[in-house]
């Protein structure tokens, strides 16, 4: 598998994200598979941000750290990332920077000095653009073109990608950016003979799309029939709602920016009662606020889908950084006991299908479904197989369709005791019927009652759903299995960490080191017997982006199986391919004795 690993960095506000997306798309148009990882500060302008785009001729499960190309247009990026550049790699930098003053001495790297200021000045003159200061942002396009030049990535691919990025008001500056870029392209191309790696156009048979996690999630909701979305702006969830807003018109999708997350979830519950498929997306702090209403929806058996894009916690935490710290909270949020489902997609593609199916689960079992995603998944951009809508099904569970004779008013037993614990549902406005809901314990009609006999039955009616979900859900919706199931070692992971575990699996296999990789997709209710059968008797290694090994702990609680090793990371940076390969080698091959192995690579 061939890999070209590219990083661009710069101060926030200077188009780092835009340019990285442009480069990622360019490589995709040239027929490559890409995995883009974005890192940024909780800041609008000035702080350092960077974007890695890993490019390959095969599908990628994770980004890489060591760089083939370091593309910079400021000094700080050069300083911060130079040590990650591989031997034989390339550094694109501002010609006005003196490398020796930064103590940079690498004669195993090709340095490509770009005269940014000159190019911008020339472009400004040619197009009659005034303010040079404002035009500094063109550096990022110049940088992308220069990167393409030295890698011999066809310029048309970059031009094509820019058409998708310079839209709306930005389209006015498309031509100047192209001109400046092509100038740099030609110059950088003159260096291409000095390096081995190339990104010539290649044939890729598979039909693909390039999406971020928030976009895939949004599309999953849309296809599932969700037309009511609420949100409160919070990183990294906001992008999903803004994407839905941008396409809302055609689909008559009502997207409401609520005054807080409590309003967001309660509006969604109200909409669901009226018969809409409703959802709300947030991150940890917002999810904390939603806890009470989550309980209300569990108590009143109202289907809703909540996406929690986890980020560094606790409290305000690391707002723009990656973590998987809310697993236990998602399982137990809300006082008292009530059924809910907690899912975690392993990658962007899975997010589309899992989120679409989340609505089916929510309506079938009439309970809240929480989908745990994370910052890495939300913000990564990835080439994935074209979405197959035929794989999506819509199942709305027990909904009473027939209309009562409108003349006689009939009280509807919304919480009717039934064999399987699930009562038929009608929506608000259903002709001829009325029912009640109450956060208080209630009878079959929804009226308040404190009667212990009713409480005994009604509470169990709700809680029994968990067992039903475990019994009825097919295995492939609960777990994912990879690698060698007979191996003595089992690595257990969840969410986007499964990606890096998979890429480590692939590399280690080539080195003759094998293991079994178990992904938990349906975290709660956990099919304890199934999971136990997969891990019993093996050396158990959990890989998670949190401090306490929450999934491992959850599995231990439900199965009685203890984990031998926990590979953990909580620096707010996702686990990297190289550090995980190292860690697994330590454990599997080098007899690592400690239980905890803490990772911390990357800024």
């Amino acid at each position: 598998m061939m890999i070209v690993n590219w990083l661009i960095g710069g101060p926030q506000g200077m188009g780092v994200e835009t340019s990285a997306n442009s480069f990622a798309r360019s490589c995709a148009y040239a027929g490559y598979w890409v995995f883009g990882k974005r890192e940024y500060h909780s800041n609008i302008t000035g702080e350092h941000s960077y974007f890695i785009v890993t490019v390959s001729d095969k599908p990628l499960h994770s980004f890489r750290d060591k760089l083939d190309v370091l593309a910079t247009f400021d000094e700080r990026t050069l300083r911060l990332h130079i040590n990650d550049v591989k031997s034989g790699g390339v550094v694109i930098y501002d010609a006005e920077i003196s490398l020796s003053s930064l103590n940079i001495k690498r004669d195993d790297i090709v340095f490509v000095p770009i005269k940014y200021n000159e190019i911008i000045k020339e472009t400004a003159e040619k197009f009659g653009l005034g303010d040079i200061k404002k035009l500094q942002v063109m550096r990022n396009s110049i940088c992308v073109f220069a990167s393409a030049g030295i890698l011999e990535l066809p310029a048309e691919c970059v031009e094509e990608s820019m058409k998708h990025i310079f839209i709306g008001k930005r389209s006015k500056v498309l031509e100047p950016n192209k001109y400046a870029g092509l100038t740099a392209y030609k110059y950088a191309q003159s260096f291409s003979h000095k390096i081995e790696k190339k990104l010539h156009k290649r044939e890729e048979e598979t039909k693909r799309v390039i999406l971020t996690g928030t976009q895939a999630t949004a599309l999953g909701k849309l296809v599932a029939g969700c037309r009511f979305q609420t949100y409160y702006p919070i990183t990294p969830a906001t992008d999903e709602s803004e994407f839905l807003e941008s396409i809302a018109k055609k689909y008559n999708m009502v997207v409401i920016q609520a005054e807080d997350e409590i309003a967001a979830i309660t509006m969604s519950i109200g909409a669901s009662l009226a018969g809409a498929r409703a959802s709300s997306s947030t991150s940890g702090p917002g999810f904390s606020l939603m806890a009470e209403a989550l309980g209300w929806s569990g108590m009143n058996e109202v289907p809703i889908v909540i996406i929690n894009y986890q980020r560094g916690g606790p409290s305000t935490g690391l707002p723009t950084r990656h973590e998987q710290g809310d697993l236990k909270f998602a399982i137990y949020a809300g006082h008292g006991e009530f059924p809910r489902i907690v899912l975690a997609p392993g990658d962007i593609q899975e997010a589309f299908y899992m989120v679409a199916d989340a609505f089916n689960l929510a309506e079938k079992y009439q309970c809240p479904v929480i989908v745990l995603e994370d910052k890495l998944l939300a913000n990564s951009v990835k080439t994935i197989n074209q979405l197959d809508i035929s794989k999506v099904k819509i199942e709305r569970g027990k909904i009473l369709q027939d209309s009562q004779n409108g003349q006689t008013l009939k009280k509807f037993r919304r919480f009717e005791f039934s064999e399987d614990g699930i009562s038929p549902r009608v929506f608000l406005g259903h002709e001829g019927f009325i029912f009640w809901n109450s956060g208080d314990e209630h009878d079959e009609f929804g009226h308040i009652t404190e009667d212990p006999e009713n409480r005994l039955r009604m509470h169990e009616k709700r809680m029994k759903k968990l067992q039903k979900i475990v019994e009825e859900t097919p295995m492939e919706k609960k777990i994912g299995e990879f690698g060698n199931p007979d191996s003595k070692f089992v690595v257990v992971s969840w969410g986007s960490t499964v990606g890096v575990a998979l890429s480590a699996l692939e590399e280690l296999k080539e080195k003759g080191i094998e293991f079994f990789l178990l992904q938990i997709k349906m975290i709660h209710p956990l099919d304890a017997e199934l999971v136990k059968s997969k891990i019993k008797g093996k050396v158990k290694i959990a890989v998670e982006n949190n401090y306490s090994g929450q999934l491992a702990s959850h599995i231990t609680e439900k199965t009685g199986e203890f984990f031998d090793h926990l590979i953990l990371k909580w620096t707010g940076r996702p686990i990297s391919h190289d550090e995980l390969v190292s860690a697994l080698e330590k454990i599997i091959k080098m007899n690592y004795k400690e239980k905890r192995l803490v990772l911390s690579y990357g800024i």
Partner: protein, 297 residues
């Protein structure tokens, strides 16, 4: 006058205290629904927590007894999902002006076509009489250990400042007047507040029915202009008189539903609740090919 109790009064016995103002409000609501001929199943009543929270259980409509302070967002979600519903939110003054103050104000920004009836009694009755946001400073109803340290809020003024397009007040013991106001509030296109002075005979030993009756003055619908927000504020801020009636009414203000119909292609005729999302075999009918065309590679 026709009695609508047989249609709209549910079979649940109310557990309110004898003499409670809530009974008057319940009667007024039932009478209003009846006179407006609203079919029970077309109406959804959302309540908060407290004595007033029980109200939907006593009325034959869809009744959603929600969380403390939150009936408004629940109600707004339901209404925006299915605008053909008649939606009423009911709560106490703690729900509305205390814990729910954020939702109270922000609902005004949206002007969703719903009616919000607030049982305003100056105390938290169901938790046994603590001061609520509408209890005056210095008042000491029987549960308070020392006189109230907090000033009271002015709900009418807050509603006017927040954008409510119909702002009114009633009195639980003038059921006929209250019923008329509630009818108008329901008919009104937009967010309608009906703040109801509601004596709590057990815990609010300060704001008694008699005290209210001494101070209450009715805004004469024929004389007082309801299209003048400045005059409405004046009446709201009047310390001498306790005005009831309609302070302000603006039927021209665009509702939230109308604003969304401007930006969506066919809302509300196509609304989230009535969407046909799949065929008979359960295959999704949503077509995202156009959106995806921007992401093909």
């Amino acid at each position: 006058m026709q009695n609508f109790q047989s249609i709209y009064r549910s079979d649940v016995e109310s557990d309110w205290c004898p003499g409670c103002g809530d009974f008057g409000i319940l009667s007024a609501i039932i009478q209003a629904l009846g006179e407006l001929e609203i079919p029970p199943w077309k109406c959804a009543i959302f309540s908060g927590i407290g004595c007033s929270g029980k109200t939907p259980h006593f009325i034959n409509t869809y009744g959603i007894h929600t969380l403390h302070g939150r009936p408004l967002p629940f109600a707004i979600g339901a209404k925006m999902a299915n605008p053909s519903l008649t939606v009423i939110a009911i709560s106490g003054d703690g729900d509305g002006y205390g814990i729910g103050a954020g939702h109270f104000v922000n609902a005004g920004r949206r002007n969703v076509d719903i009616t919000y009836i607030v049982h305003n009694n100056g105390v938290y009755g169901l938790t046994k009489g603590q001061a609520s946001p509408t209890l005056k400073r210095g008042a000491q109803p029987k549960s308070l250990k020392y006189p109230n340290l907090n000033d009271m809020v002015n709900p009418i003024a807050i509603a006017l400042a927040s954008g409510y397009s119909f702002v009114a007040r009633g009195f639980a013991y003038n059921v006929k007047h209250l019923k008329e106001i509630i009818k108008q509030a329901i008919i009104h296109k937009g967010l309608a507040l009906v703040d109801v002075l509601q004596p709590c005979p057990v815990f609010n030993t300060v704001d008694t029915k008699e005290k209210y009756m001494e101070r209450i003055k009715i805004l004469d619908g024929n004389e007082f202009p309801t299209n003048d927000i400045k005059k409405a504020f004046e009446k709201a801020l009047d310390e001498e008189n306790l005005w009831i009636g309609i302070f302000y009414k603006n039927p021209e203000k665009e509702t939230y539903e109308e604003r969304y119909s401007e930006i969506l292609s066919s809302y509300p005729s196509e609304c989230p609740a009535n969407l046909k999302m799949s065929d008979e075999k359960g295959n999704p009918t949503t077509d995202i090919s156009e959106v995806l065309s921007n992401f093909l590679c």
